[in-house]
């Protein structure tokens, strides 16, 4: 299927990198479990990442449902505060590090080689290693809940000294598991950078790359920049806990606020790590189903890059009430407001792409459109949170919980689902069942809004986050949120059904599964064979 490379156009930089992955794949591959343990194939590793992420999504989701069940009505009914705190903490950690990040890495593994016309990732063995670190990390993390004193109970932001001097004994294992997950992320990111920079099809310039590739390139640089900061801060915790240092212990001359600066210097770019690839996915889907080229491709790239740069300059907006000096408050307020500008540009570009298109509403498009609307709502509350004086009222309330769930659930998670629906025909050779997909979509949209919209109100009315029980005036909002969460959780079973059915059968998809789709992945057969682009494709850029 893939057009042959003209002989005068050798792909010099990439041949040596590819050889390793290819060689092992051509010997008769091991069978059964060993095949998956040893695979160096980007498609198989991509699938492993995606399946792992789905499992984590359900585990993290069950933890969230425990939280919502306890908050269904005032009083303590199901769990005690110690366990409640473990649930909120584990929910956050699992969703961020176990579900959302690996899902994007899985999509990157599958799609980046296909979109740049490469036969595999640049470093296939490293790719295998990056993935298999993850199950180890998360098995360790989950096992802490069975240790004496329980698992992490200090929130996913694990502020010292609650996470050091006052932490349960299992915290050392928590630190180890984060280290392992962090190494996995860094290696994955290095691999992605190497693939994108070295293995593009001949003739594909950077400014010809699909936006998913662009956003991932930038995300990978963010990961390489900030994961070491996370590693540093958890190592300092480790020293405080086990080796008698006092980085964060005020009684020993340490500084608990330093922890927050370091954490958020990692944590804010981390937020963009979880959303930039989502922008890339949506930028692929909207043009496909509007049958019109993405409006403002170049400005999309620049906007992504400026968001990435700004993401290093806004971390202290998570710390407006820790007592920063006035100039710092002002600086971080201005930079945070500024980030709304490139984000706005992206939304405007998507909408202008729709304008005078020829639009249809296949399942991927439904999720992408819901993403645009609901992510923008999360952006609005973000803009409100940027106003430092007002943040004194919003901070650490359910208003913040509403905000970041809007950008992460109907934001990042919907984009991932949109991507899955979009590329399932390429992966399996079948279209996902339309009726079931629509059910999944509508139930999810209703569930997500029922869950998170009332949280704006409970937050403004004064409900702090991370509390196991609440005053009576918050009861109605919480009841609605809990019912919504149950609906949202249950509707993800429909998603699993769609995926399983699609793997097993369904309407056959041609190579170009969507008539408006243009990128290179649609030039290989559906399902994509295990090895694609053994010879680089003949890439023809859009004329500008």
């Amino acid at each position: 299927m893939a057009p042959k490379l003209p002989p005068h156009h050798p792909l010099e930089q990439s041949t040596s990198a590819v050889a390793g992955g290819q060689a092992s794949a051509h010997h008769s591959p091991p069978r059964g479990i060993m095949r998956w343990l040893l695979t160096t194939n980007h498609k198989e590793i991509g699938s492993l990442y995606l399946i792992f992420s789905l499992v984590m999504f359900f585990i993290g989701g069950i933890f969230a449902l425990v939280v919502r069940a306890e908050l269904f009505q005032p009083g303590l009914q199901l769990v005690q505060p110690e366990f409640f705190n473990q649930m909120t903490t584990m929910h956050g950690l699992i969703m961020v590090f176990g579900a959302v990040m690996p899902a994007f890495t899985g999509l990157a593994n599958w799609m980046i080689p296909l979109q740049v016309g490469a036969p595999d990732m640049a470093l296939p063995r490293l790719n295998n290693f990056s993935f298999w670190l993850l199950p180890v990390a998360f098995a360790l993390l989950l096992s802490t809940m069975l240790m004496p004193g329980g698992g992490p109970n200090f929130g996913w932001t694990f502020y010292a000294p609650l996470s050091t001097t006052y932490a349960p004994p299992s915290t050392t294992f928590f630190i180890l598991s984060l280290h392992i997950a962090g190494i996995s992320s860094i290696l994955g990111a290095i691999n992605i950078v190497a693939t994108i920079l070295n293995m593009r099809a001949p003739g594909m310039r950077l400014m010809d790359m699909p936006l998913f590739v662009w956003t991932w390139l930038i995300t990978a640089f963010l990961l390489i920049a900030v994961m070491p900061v996370l590693a540093g801060v958890i190592t300092m915790m480790l020293m405080d806990i086990n080796f008698g240092t006092s980085f964060f212990n005020a009684a020993g001359g340490g500084d608990p606020v330093l922890f927050q600066h370091l954490f958020w210097f990692f944590g804010h770019p981390e937020v963009y790590i979880m959303i930039l690839p989502a922008f890339g996915i949506v930028s692929a889907i909207i043009p496909t189903f509007a049958r019109k080229r993405l409006f403002g491709y170049a400005s999309m790239v620049y906007a992504t890059a400026s968001i990435a740069v700004l993401s290093f300059l806004v971390w202290a907006h998570h710390m407006f009430v820790v007592g920063l000096p006035l100039v710092a408050e002002l600086f971080f307020m201005y930079t945070t407001m500024l980030i709304a500008v490139p984000t706005g540009v992206k939304v405007f570009n998507w909408i202008t792409t729709l304008f005078r298109g020829s639009i249809t509403f296949e399942p991927p498009m439904l999720f992408a459109l819901a993403f645009v609307v609901l992510f923008t709502i999360g952006g609005f509350s973000g803009l409100m949170l940027a106003i430092a004086p007002a943040d004194f009222q919003y901070h650490d309330t359910y208003f913040v919980v509403a905000h970041f769930h809007y950008v992460l659930v109907p934001g990042a998670v919907f984009a991932i689902m949109a991507g899955v629906y979009y590329w399932l025909p390429k992966w399996t050779g079948h279209y996902p069942n339309v009726k079931l997909s629509q059910w999944h979509f509508w139930l999810s949209v209703i569930g997500v809004n029922l869950t998170f919209f009332p949280m704006h109100f409970s937050g403004l009315a004064g409900m702090p986050r991370r509390i196991p029980d609440y005053a009576l005036q918050f009861a109605d909002f919480n009841l609605v949120s809990s019912l919504g969460a149950l609906l949202f959780g249950a509707s993800q079973l429909v998603f699993v059904a769609v995926v399983i059915l699609c793997v097993r059968g369904g309407e056959k998809a041609p190579a170009k599964a969507w008539e408006g789709a243009e990128d290179l992945e649609w030039s290989v057969p559906s399902p994509a064979p295990l090895h694609t682009f053994d010879t680089p494709p003949n890439f023809r850029p859009h004329e500008h």
Partner: protein, 372 residues
Amino acid sequence: MRKSLVWMTGCLGFALMVPLAMANAWNMPVGVTDVSREIHSLHMIIFWICVVIGVVVFGVMFYSLFRFRRSQGAKASNFHENTTVEVIWTAVPLLILVGMAIPATATLKKMYDASDAELDIMITGQQWRWRYEYLGEDVAFNSNMSTPRAQIQGDEPRGEHYLLEVDEPLVLPVNRKVRFLMTADDVIHSWWVPDLAVKQDTIPGFINENWVRINEPGIYRGQCTELCGMDHGFMPIVVEALEEEEFDAWLAERKEAAEQEAMGVDREWELEELMERGEAVYGSICASCHQAEGQGAPPAFPALADNQQLIDDLDWHLDKILNGVSGSAMPAFRGTLNPVEIAAVTTWTRNAWGNDTGDAVQPAEIAERLSD
């Protein structure tokens, strides 16, 4: 057609939620200070800006989705770039943001100006209570949640101020600038009263500053807003704002009581007296960790009942209470309880729950140890 109908209803739903958001219990309180009013109006301005942008952006979006459906024969046009519009939609939001940043900066400056306060109050967060000291007035007390556990467990009907009530509120005067100096003994807490628009982290090793001038007498309630461990959800704040004369009378009365207490240090106390006082101190301070019956919650919190070392060794026992155990959750109480309270709680823990040592630890003894 059906799909777009569903979309339209979705939009309408959101549009309907907006007026609901304006209702009082759904929105940020206006509050009772000048600062809280300013913050509320900033909040409303930025909210309406978002609503207007939202209406325009989603309006264009839904119009396009409706108007350019392929099912209605829409043909895609070909444009995909336009520098002018890109510049416009970069510049216009930028201008709006500058317009927003100006009043926000002014309010923030005001919030940071804690100078010329007439009263200084030290607020200390502890797992899981607040401690208030009226600096220079010799008045200090702890403020614990007073909602009974039975209400939380659902064995009793829940009261009107469930979880938002305390044994001793922070009493403040209206119309006077009060400065808060805020710190914590153990982990980070955050002191928040929405009606006063004061939210400030209390951080061990740091002293943060904030201030308030309350315009109306009344009772204002809030909560700790930084996750601080097990009972984070159970450390409410109640502020009682009194007219100035009433406040002065209250303060004078508390000062007198404090003096009485100081005199109590020198006299000999009976076992019963100490036990009565000790039970109260234990219930309000120690029970949150060591539990009401002294049974503790091992391994996190050791039992005090039937604790052989405690029974055998008074010196060791006093050392734990006075100096705490560094590197653990056990706080040092030498700075936060007075000699009478320390003597009383020591006596209580040495005699309650079958510990039965018969020791009556005298406040004078404690005072002596403290002065060493």
